[in-house]
């Protein structure tokens, strides 16, 4: 489903962020990408979404080259991915309901479908009673749950979570990770980037460890070892 083929990313002044990175993520997998801050995790995630492009090598999504995709194909790829970020990346001028509905509107879904689906997803995620609130009126945990609801509403094939628990307390961290596990159990691919040792060790899933832009370990039932 996602394939990195000898990917190297060099920023200006010869700063190497990723070096000859190759791996493949299959459909339905739960993969944690771990490493210290600045190891290259976020760059890797941004490359899947086509927000960064490799200096050398190629990134594929569903057989399509992300690095060579035009804006139309990029749009198509991005719609197949639900993304969750540490800073939530919500639309601050829209309400909770509108934030989720926007994703369906982008896809051109009918109003009738949106009116049914959005409240349903918000109920599941525990924000049914906050539909008319604005993101700034929610707690950190609620905002992250909203971003998960937004990522889920279009039934994407892949959920990418970049440090989703970075700003959360242990209780909300547990909730968010449980949600991601449930999403994975429903058959979706989950890519989790984190530097939280406890989470990774508890999950007992595949772990790709990056250090200084190089993959130093890729284990099926891995642990956080740096």
């Amino acid at each position: 489903m996602i394939k990195f083929q000898n990917v190297t990313k060099i920023y200006q002044e010869n700063i190497i962020v990723l070096q000859d990175v190759s791996f493949e993520i299959k459909e339905g997998e739960f993969v944690s990408i771990v490493g210290k801050s600045g190891a290259g995790k976020t760059t890797l995630i941004r490359m899947i979404l086509g927000l960064e492009f490799p200096t050398y090598g190629e990134v594929f999504f569903d057989g399509e080259s992300v690095s060579k995709a035009n804006s139309k194909i990029l749009q198509k790829i991005r719609r197949k991915i639900g993304s969750v970020y540490q800073d939530y990346r919500l639309l601050p001028a829209k309400t909770v309901y509108e934030n989720v509905a926007y994703i369906m509107e982008v896809e051109g879904k009918e109003n009738e479908e949106i009116e049914v689906e959005v409240p349903r997803v918000l109920e599941i995620i525990g924000l049914g009673d906050k539909m008319n609130n604005f993101p700034r009126e929610l707690s950190g945990g609620e905002q992250q749950r909203l971003s998960i609801a937004r990522a889920l509403v279009n039934h994407p094939a892949v959920i990418i979570a970049d440090e989703p628990t970075g700003n959360l307390d242990p209780y909300n961290t547990y909730e968010v990770i449980s949600l991601l596990e449930k999403i994975n159990k429903s058959g979706k691919t989950v890519v989790l980037s984190t530097h939280n040792r406890e989470i990774v060790n508890k999950l007992g899933k595949r772990v790709i460890t990056i250090e200084n832009g190089i993959i130093i370990r890729d284990e099926e039932k891995g642990r956080f070892i740096i």
Partner: protein, 304 residues
């Protein structure tokens, strides 16, 4: 397509009212600049009026010989009108009219009245007053023809050489005023564009992150851009409505005062007779600036 169109209009409308502070600031700046542009248009009208008033006071006079019959002078008048399309007006002043005008002007002065009695009879010559639509060169051209062979038996003298310096000076001043006015208008217009562009940029700046997020979730460029562009058009339209009423009220209130300073120039009449041009300027500038600025700014932020 229609659903999406409805959606982007709805986004624009909701954001317009939700971000009241930004909307008010953008409308305020746009209104001020549109008023400035409208002011330039009125200044253009005023300067044109002043220039044409001054230019209408310039003429050259061809004095005919005392014994030339009136019909010959009137024929000459027709001939002069045919010389060039630049001849704006030719007025015939008979000997009697000239004497009447003179006595009206100087009747109270005993020295001049005495001198006139001393001369005896009517010493004035019949004449044609010629006003040109063009500059000093037009007057020179007509004066040369009048002093040429065609009219040599009829015309005593043409007073162009006495007036030449004054005519050239007035037309040179008019040209300078026009040139200076144009440069000032261009500078102010450019300043207005920069101010409006930066205001719209500031208004959209707050949505920079939002635009990136919209891009990440797979929204197409036009789906992201359209609400901002529509909002830009809304800023322009609301500003136009405000400007139009402000201009209407100001022109109505100030008109009589302006007429005292510049007799013959009615500001309100100028407003009503140019109403469609004013609407076009205000609406065109407001909406075009709102739309183009939004388009450029969002495009810049869309490069993700």
């Amino acid at each position: 397509m229609f659903t999406n169109l409805k959606r982007v209009f709805n986004f624009a409308l909701v954001d317009f009212f939700r971000n009241k502070g930004i909307s008010i600031a953008a409308i305020f700046v746009l209104t001020t600049t549109i008023l400035l542009i409208t002011g330039l248009f009125f200044m253009h009208g005023v300067s044109n009026f002043l220039i044409s008033t001054i230019q209408n006071k310039i003429d050259i006079t061809a004095y005919f010989k005392a014994d030339v019959p009136e019909q010959d002078i009137l024929n000459a008048k027709d001939e002069i009108l045919k010389i060039s399309s630049e001849v704006k007006n030719v007025e015939y002043i008979s000997k009697e009219d000239a004497l009447y005008d003179f006595t009206q002007k100087h009747g109270d002065d005993p020295t001049i009245s005495g001198a006139l009695q001393e001369v005896g009879g009517n010493p004035f010559l019949p004449s044609l007053n010629i006003i040109m639509a063009s500059g000093a060169s037009g007057y020179e051209k007509v004066a040369t023809i009048l002093q040429g062979d065609q009219f040599i038996d009829l015309i005593e003298k043409v007073d162009f050489s006495q007036k030449k310096v004054t005519i050239e000076k007035i037309f040179s001043i008019s040209a300078t005023i026009n040139k200076f006015g144009l440069i000032l208008a261009v500078i102010l217009f450019l300043v207005a564009i920069v101010v409006v562009f930066n205001t719209i940029k500031l208004a959209i700046n707050g949505s920079r992150e939002e635009i990136t997020t919209m891009r990440i979730v797979g929204a197409s460029s036009w789906f992201i851009k359209s609400p901002f562009i529509i909002q830009g058009a809304m800023f322009g339209f609301v500003s136009f409505i405000i400007c139009f009423f402000v201009t209407f009220i100001l022109a109505f209130l100030v008109s009589s005062s302006v007429e005292i300073i510049m007799p013959g120039f009615n500001l309100f009449k100028y407003f009503t007779s140019n109403i469609f041009i004013i609407i076009l300027i205000q609406l065109g500038f407001g909406v075009a600036m709102g739309v183009v600025s939004s388009f450029i700014v969002v495009n810049k932020y869309l490069k993700v």
